[in-house]
Structure formats: structure tokens, C-alpha cells
């Protein structure tokens, strides 16, 4: 899993099992502690994953406007659902399920708003888009990502964008994506194949 450590520190990244934060407790242990009522454990989970969740939310929903709200919603829902984490699935698979549900709900609400012609929502998009500073604005590839790749991603439907983002950005394997999205593994493979083809086609058009 492409999860970073707390802000600004130099901790090692996890190996996907949520257990390699140097000598820090694993995600699963933090969940147990949070369940026991220790707020610090939950805050540690938040600090550990918030940047990753922010990026995942923006890539998935295609919007930066309400990304902060979505991140907060993801963590609030995770807090409410801590009791249902029985350890059968890995933490990251379980948490991705929550993030995907939140993004789904947000996308549906936004589409409904647009259908109703709610111009405020669209305007707010444009205002907030400029206010989120991002390291993408610096360094190699930042411009390509912002101007070419993200627009192509946005053009994909949610059913194709989600598996692609979970596979490439989150580095989940096919079976994990299938569990997160509650679809068969074969569907994950076919959607990934189609999404990659559409991305390649879209990027070629931009490159010409």
C-alpha cells in the first residue's frame, strides 16, 4: 500500500500489510487500541493515512473541491465502523472499502446536484480547485499529471476509474480490488484492461 508516514517524518513506508512503520505499532494494533477507546491511536491512524486518502479521493472522485470533506467523512465512517473490523480482511482492504463507498456516495450526490442545475456546487469546484496547494505543481511530470493524465482519468466512468486507481495508485492486486468493489475478479481484470486501453487512446490524442 502506498501509505506515507505522518507528515514530515521519515518513517519507512508500509509493505502493504500495515506493519512496517519502523518500531511503530501496526494498523491492526492501532485499530484494537482505538476500539478500546484510546483517541491517540485513532489520531495516529489518521495521521498515518490522511495524505494517502486525500490523494485517493481526488484521483477517484476527480475533484479537489470537496476533497477535505471527503477525507474527514472517510475517517468519521471508519471510526464508526471500527467495531466491524474483525481482522478477517486486512486493514487496507477494509479501509479501501470505506473510502470507495464514500467516493461513490459523493459522486452520486454531485451528479444529482448537477442534474438539478445547482450552479453553486459547480462554482465552488472552480474556487477550491485553485486553493489546494500540491507538490504536483513542482517537479518532473507534475504538469503532465495535472493537464493530461488526470483529465483522461476523469473521462473514465467510475466503474473503470476505481479499479484503475486502486490498482496503479493503491497497488492493490486483483483479488483485493474485487473484494473492495464487491465484484468478481474477472470483472476487475476486464475493467482494468479496458481502462488502460482508453487511457492510452486518450493520452495519444493529447500527445499529438
Amino acid at each position: 500500500m502506498n501509505l506515507s508516514g505522518p507528515d514530515g517524518d521519515t518513517r519507512a513506508r508500509t509493505d502493504g500489510e500495515g506493519v512496517e512503520y519502523g518500531n511503530e505499532p501496526s494498523d491492526e494494533i492501532l485499530v484494537q487500541e482505538a476500539l478500546a477507546g484510546r483517541e491517540r491511536a485513532f489520531l495516529e491512524l489518521y495521521r498515518r493515512h490522511r495524505r494517502y486518502v486525500l490523494t485517493l479521493v481526488v484521483r477517484t472522485s476527480g475533484r479537489q473541491a470537496d476533497a477535505e470533506d471527503l477525507v474527514q467523512e472517510c475517517f468519521v465512517q471508519m471510526h464508526g465502523a471500527l467495531g466491524s473490523f474483525g481482522g478477517r480482511a486486512r486493514f487496507r482492504t477494509w479501509f479501501h472499502g470505506i473510502v470507495v463507498r464514500v467516493c461513490h456516495s459523493s459522486t452520486r450526490a454531485r451528479l444529482a446536484q448537477k442534474r438539478r442545475g445547482d450552479s453553486d456546487a459547480v462554482e465552488m469546484d472552480d474556487i477550491l480547485l485553485e486553493t489546494i496547494p500540491s507538490p504536483e505543481d513542482h517537479g518532473a511530470g507534475a504538469r503532465e499529471l495535472r493537464d493530461w493524465i488526470q483529465p483522461c482519468l476523469d473521462k473514465l466512468g467510475l466503474s473503470h476509474r476505481l479499479p484503475l486507481v486502486l490498482h496503479i495508485f493503491s497497488q492493490l492486486d486483483h483479488s483485493e480490488i474485487a473484494r473492495v468493489l464487491s465484484i468478481p475478479e474477472g470483472s476487475v481484470k476486464s475493467r482494468l484492461f479496458n481502462a488502460r486501453q482508453r487511457m492510452a487512446k486518450c493520452l495519444d490524442i493529447h500527445g499529438e
Binding site: E39, T55, Q72, F75, G141, A142, E144, L145, L153, I168
Partner: protein, 378 residues
Amino acid sequence: MTERDWEDLLRRKEFDLPKERWARLEVDLLRRIREPVAPLAWHQRLVTGAIGALRWLRPVPVAAGLASLFLSLGWWYLHEHRSAGSVAQIEELKGWTAGAVLHSDSLKVMNWGAARCTLALQGDVRRLEGEGGQRLRLEKGRIRFGVQPRRPNEVFSVEFGSCKATVVGTAFTLQVDSLGAIASVEHGKVRIDALSGLSRLLTQGQSLSCRDLTQGPVHKNDAVEPIATPKPPVPVVAVPSSLEEQEWERLWSGCKQPSEKCTESLAAYLQSHPTGERAGKCAQLWADRSMARGDYRDALYALDLAAHANAGELSFKARLKACSIKAMELNQASQALKDLDALLVGLPEGVRKSAAMQLRADLVAREKNSGSDPANLP
């Protein structure tokens, strides 16, 4: 830009917020999770529960499961629910209760278990009910049966005179008149059992008088006797030894693969040569094929032929195998044990006796494990 490039960019680049903004969000998050959660109203709980149940049930597998359940129930109703001998199709047959005589000279169609039976009746048929389910008995006249399809373990038999005809194949005719009771087979095979315990298998084109079975040997290729133009039986011609060899070779080489024709050839050979090593081999092969088909009653019949073929070791093994089938496949453990005991009487000490004793011990242990009262075992 290659595919590898854009995927790499997507993987590496992350969004971030200034620290003070994260700190503000953190405070907001703590405030939200500390807020007491208002209990859900009953209708909210109902909706939440329904959504949770739907998510848990997964509609597609549930729909598939329900569809398979209904299909299975339908299949069961069509094939199992009808009791053996249930009569359908014609009002007249519906009123044909046990013990009553059906007098008719027309074509009837009735269901017998899974089989559809066509009766071309010219006479009286009585419907009997007793041990072993429902049976038919031809009192007088002539009746032609067409029985198909027949399930492997389903027995269709009709009593006539002092004999009983059991369908192994498909179509046969029975006749009872002042001259006696005669069975003629048009297709497939029919086993004729006399009340005295003797039995013979008739194949296509053969006919047999019940009196012949009870009083004397059966002749091969007795002519089929149509009612209108009865023909005299054709006498059996003794087959020369060399021809016998050729017949055996032809039969054995033609029976490499299981087929209806092969079974008929085996049955015909057994009728003309009921004893000897070859008869034992034929009957054994027939039994093996029947067991492979799951037709254990047919297999029992073939094993009975093998047992009476005086084929030495083969006959002994056939008797053991018959006991085993009765116990394991036909739930007749008590009968199997009685047969075994009869077999053991007078059997000298040796390999055969050990094998029989071993089988008996296995059957007794199996019966005990299945919960039968040991006191009821012979």
C-alpha cells in the same frame, strides 16, 4: 509518453495540505467523533437493516439459489412425487383402485413411477397392492406393455398365471387363456420369474410359456406367438463344437465395449449354455456392466446366473458379490446375511470360507454402525 510513464507518475505523485490546515481538520475530526451518536429512529433502523441484509445476501447468488431450488422442487415433483403405479391420463384409469379389475379392449396410457406405460389391453387386469408396492396381474386376455423410460432401480413387473414378468427392456406382450400363460418380448429384455423361484430372461423375439418355466427347460428362440396367428415353437438345434467355439469367439470379441446388443448376446448365450466356465464369465461380465449402469437388480439377476453356472471360483465370487450388493446397494442387509449364512453352511475351511466370513463381519459391522438393532441381525 508511454504507458509505463503515466502509470509511474500516477503512482508517485500525492496531494498534500499545509500543516496548519491538517491541524484544523484534526480538531474538526475529533469534535465529530466525540459527538454522541443519536440513536436511529425505528424506520431508519429498518432501512439500515434492509440495506445490510441485501448487501449480505448478494442478490445474484440468492436469485440463482432460489431458481435452482424451485427447479429442483419441480423436478422432484415430476419424477418422485408420483408414487409407483400412480395412474393418470384417463378418467377410467383414475378410478382403477387397488384390487379392482380393469376390463378393456383399447389402448391406455398410465404412469408407473417415472415410466410411461402404454397398455394395449384385450382382457382383464387386476391392480394389486401389498409388500413391494403396487403390482398388476393379468387375469385373462392379452396385454402389450410399452414401458419407457425406466429408471435404473425401478422395477416394473406384472403377474400372469403362476409367473411374474419383470421389465428389463421396453416392450412385451403377455397372454393368459385356456392354453396357459405366455410372455412374448418385442424389444429389450424381460425377466420371467416363476412362483417356484425359477427365472429366465427373455430377449427380443423370444417367447415363453409359464408352464415351460415351471415344469421344464426353456427353449431358445421360441417363436413369438402373435394372438391372431399362433406359430409352433421352433425346436432347438444342437450346435456343433466348432460352431460353439466360433459363437463364443464372436460373442466375446463383440463385447469389448458395453452395449445393449452385447447384453442381449450374453443373455442369449447364457440361455443356450447355462452352465460352465464360459457361462460364468458371461454372467459376470453382464453383472459388471449392469453395476456400472447402476442397475443393481439386473446385476443381481446376472450374478444369480453366474452362481448357478457351476463355474467354480467364479460362481462362488458371484454369490459373495450378490450378498454385497444386497447389503450395500439395495438395503437388504438381513437378506444378505441370511444368504451368506446359507453359503457358509458346509463350506470347508480355506480361502473361500475366510472371504465369506470377512464379508459377513463387514456387513454386521456396517449394520451396527448404521444403527440397526444387533438383535435383529441373523
